[in-house]
Amino acid sequence: MMAESGDAAARESLRRELGLDRPIAVQYVTWMGQLLRGDLGRSIRNGEPVIENVSRRIRPSLELAVLAMTIAVLVAFPAAIVSAIRHNTAVDRLGTSFALFGICLPNFLLALLLIFAFGVTLRWLPISGYVDPLDEGWSGLRSLVLPAVTLGLALAAVIMRTLRSSLLEALGEDYVRTARAKGLSESVVIRGHVLRNALIPVITVLGLQLGTLIGGAVITEYVFALPGVGRLVVDAVFARDYPLVQGVILLIAIGFILSNLFVDLLYGWIDPRIRVR
């Protein structure tokens, strides 16, 4: 916002204007005071309130998150169930290797692989940019496919790995033998008895992975030029727009903590025994 060579007087007056000449403690108290009144300050770059900068970016991020989550569940659940039922067969090994790859393959690399395959070579899908699927429908969905697959596969790998081993554990329980013995069909046993009991560890891992997932969303939005909150963080960091960085990161942390709370509440919904009295 100021050339390196700006003269001393101008620098002094700017410092005073931004409150940088006051002690850190005073600056912090001022910032907290404004925060409590819902004022996160203004972006240095465009002068608009931080809140407005963020709220404009929330929609793409949420759409990405929902799509990625859908893809993750659609891939991970069938894969884990097949892997667990056909334990120690070629299918199982294929599934577990897929999971390992998904965990070790960094997000940005997967993104570039997908861009290389579907965007550059086959030219099926757009490789960057964003059209809102709620406005444009089909072409909007197309613009979100690659980002959502990138983010979704990483998540699918984690879910699949956890679900597979908790399914295996549940399959060995007495109540499964009982259910089979009383003549329930295998699909009813899996759906009603095994799957439900195997869900708790998956929820735990999902909760623990939330942070990683948000980090992945930042990278994904950056690679695919999606105008979401993650992209805003990266841009703000590199523009040295400190009020914006502070504000966005605070809001992300709040969102992160709220999602963790939501995950904790899910426990009670899935397993009534865990409800807090």
Binding site: L100, F101, I103, C104, L105, P106, N107, F108, L109, L112, L113, I115, F116, V120, V158, R161, T162, S165, S166, L168, E169, P201, T204, V205, L208, Q209, L210, G211, T212, L213, I214, G215, G216, V218, I219, Y222, V223, V233, V234, V237, F238, R240, V245, I249, I252, A253, F256, I257
Partner: protein, 302 residues
């Protein structure tokens, strides 16, 4: 973070080996399990190769990693340039080799920072208890309330560009995991009889902490550290992909991949060289971490 993914896979293996044995047998079992893990040798080979490549980078790299050759840009992989050249004619293989240094330093140093800081803080919290415990652990909770990559990004931005900033940022981000682990261990170890015995013999608090509590609480820290290295390497690559960390023209895998992003169509090898190196290293380190955990995790040697 890393632990959670592996935990359940281990619970499963633990079921398969219900062993009750003496201390000597248990050690032997631990060793055997580590060796039996089919993938450990591959992981060890990858790690060894990466260390050798990092140390011998000046000898191994066929070209100067910074030397541009504008007459030979985006050259296909071939006999002269095994992995091709990039958009300013630099040899991709040489840059991958030099980038190994950055990745390994990032992985090991940031985990060392986190394990040391977390170990000391966890020790303090667990051993001293009371107000120190409260202050330290609330501080750790504060760090944990941010998504790791986002926090590292912000810290890296404040600390300034360069590898040092990223190392410290990642160190801070990983510290709470180690602090919590250490605190839990210390809390359980400090109630053991041998600690009471040492105290009855007149040992000072410091002596007990150093000679009795620390050695007995350290195993999970080592396990966690070995599992964290792979994730730290990934994190450094992600940050340098975004533009933090080692600054151009110096080579790091993440920044090379970012630079090659625009040339996916004409020269995908700019991305695939460092991408493969990164992937293989992370997979290998994961296997090594798993094997170390197999060998040392006390929960498996019930």
């Amino acid at each position: 973070m890393a632990g959670s993914i592996h935990e359940s896979a281990f619970a499963e293996r633990a079921l398969a080996t219900p062993a009750e044995a003496g201390v000597r047998d248990r050690r032997w079992d631990a060793l055997r399990r580590a060796a039996r893990a089919r993938l450990a040798p591959f992981g060890a080979a990858v790690l060894l190769a990466a260390i050798v490549i990092a140390l011998a980078a000046p000898l191994l790299a066929p070209y100067d990693p910074l030397a541009q050759n504008l007459g030979n840009i985006l050259a296909r992989p071939g006999r002269a340039h095994w992995l091709g050249t990039d958009n300013v004619g630099r040899d991709v293989l040489s840059r991958v080799i030099w980038g190994t240094r950055v990745s390994l330093v990032a992985g090991f140093v940031s985990v060392a920072i986190a394990a040391t800081a977390g170990g000391v803080l966890g020790m303090l919290a667990g051993y001293a208890g009371g107000r120190a415990d409260g202050v330290v652990m609330r501080l750790m909770d504060a760090v944990l309330s941010f998504p790791p990559l986002v926090l590292a990004l912000a810290l890296g931005a404040v600390l300034g560009a360069g590898l040092g900033g990223v190392l410290v940022a990642l160190g801070v981000v990983y510290t709470p995991t180690f602090a919590r682990l250490m605190r839990g261990q210390v809390l359980s170890v400090k109630t053991r009889e041998y600690v009471d015995a040492a105290r009855a013999l007149g040992a000072s608090g410091w002596w007990i902490a150093r000679h009795h509590v620390l050695p007995n609480a350290a195993t999970p820290i080592v396990v966690q550290a070995s599992l964290s290295v792979a994730f730290a390497i990934l994190a450094e690559a992600s940050l340098s992909f975004l533009g933090l960390g080692v600054q151009p023209p110096a080579a790091s895998w993440g920044s090379m991949i970012n630079a090659g992003r625009g040339y996916l169509q004409q020269a995908p090898w700019i991305v695939f060289g460092p991408g493969t190196a990164l992937f293989v290293t992370v997979v290998g380190l994961n296997f090594v971490g798993d094997a170390i955990r197999d060998g040392l995790d006390p929960r498996l040697t019930r």
